[in-house]
Amino acid sequence: MLKELIESFEDTIKFNDFFEYLGFVDAKNEILSSPGRIIFLLGEPGSGKSYLLSYLKYENPDKYLLIESPFSKIDLKSLDKNKTILVDEAQLLSLKTLEYLRILSDKGHKLVLGMHTQIGNKVASLPHFSSRYIDKVYIRGLTFSEFQKYVMNKFIQYQKQYLISPKILKKIYKYSKGNFRMAKKIIYIGLNLLDYSISHNLSYRTFDDCILDMSLLAIGVLK
C-alpha cells in the first residue's frame, strides 16, 4: 500500500530525487572554489558528506575519482593528474594510506577527504598535513524547515500527506538530532509498521505518536 513511499525513504543515494539544502550548497561551493590541494570535508554523521562527494562525481564524472570505501581497490598509477580524488569515510584510512594520498597531492592531485568533524580535525593537525596548505570545509546538516520540506515533498508526491503531521516531524527531527540518515531511518521503519497496520486492519491509520514510539523502540533510540 505504502510501498513506493517506503522505498523513497530507503538509505541509498539517489540523484533522481536530488534535494538541495543550504548546508550542501555552501559546502559544495566552498570545495569548488577552494585553492587548497587537500580539502577536509568535515561534518557530523548524517550531515550529507557522502551525498555531496557522490553528487560531485555524478555531476562531473570525468573530473573526479570517488573512493567510496577505504577498502576499495583503485588503480592510482593510471590516474589522470587533472582528476580530483574524493575519499569518503577517510577517517578509516591508515596513516600510511593518508601519507600516500598526501604524496599524490604534492604531485598535483587535488584531494577531498570526507571525515567526521572530530577525527578530521585531529588528522588535519598531523604534521604531514598541517605543514601544507589545507582547507577545511564544514558541512551543516538540514535545518528543521529543510527537513520538513524534504519529507512533505515525498508524502505529497505519493498523495499521502494526510499520514504525517508537523508535530510528528518535529519529534522525529528532535530524536534524530539533525542526523538526516537517522531521521530517514525512523520514517522508513515507521512507515513499514504503518503499512503493516493498515494492511492487517489494525488500529493505526496515520504516523502517530504510537507508530513513532514503536519505530524509535525498533531502532533503539528509546529503551
Binding site: L193, L202, D213, M214, L217, A218, L222
Partner: protein, 63 residues
C-alpha cells in the same frame, strides 16, 4: 514482524509515562495546596494577632 512486540513495549512505556506524569502533577498540586494552607494559616495568625492587640488596646483604654 515484530509489530505486536513493539506495540506491547510502546503501550507499556506509555503507561509508565502516564503514571509518572500523574505523580508529578499530583505532587505539584498537593505541594501547592499545602503551601496555600500554610500561607493562609500564617495570614490568619497575623490577622488574629493584630486584632487581639487592638482589642487589648481598647480594653486597656476602657479600663
Amino acid at each position: 514482524m515484530r509489530f505486536f512486540e513493539l506495540e506491547k513495549e510502546c503501550k507499556k512505556r506509555r503507561f509508565k509515562l502516564a503514571i509518572l506524569y500523574t505523580i508529578i502533577i499530583l505532587s505539584w498540586l498537593f505541594s501547592f495546596l499545602f503551601l496555600k494552607e500554610l500561607l493562609d494559616l500564617s495570614y490568619e495568625k497575623e490577622v488574629k494577632a493584630k486584632y487581639l492587640k487592638e482589642i487589648n488596646k481598647e480594653l486597656s483604654i476602657k479600663q
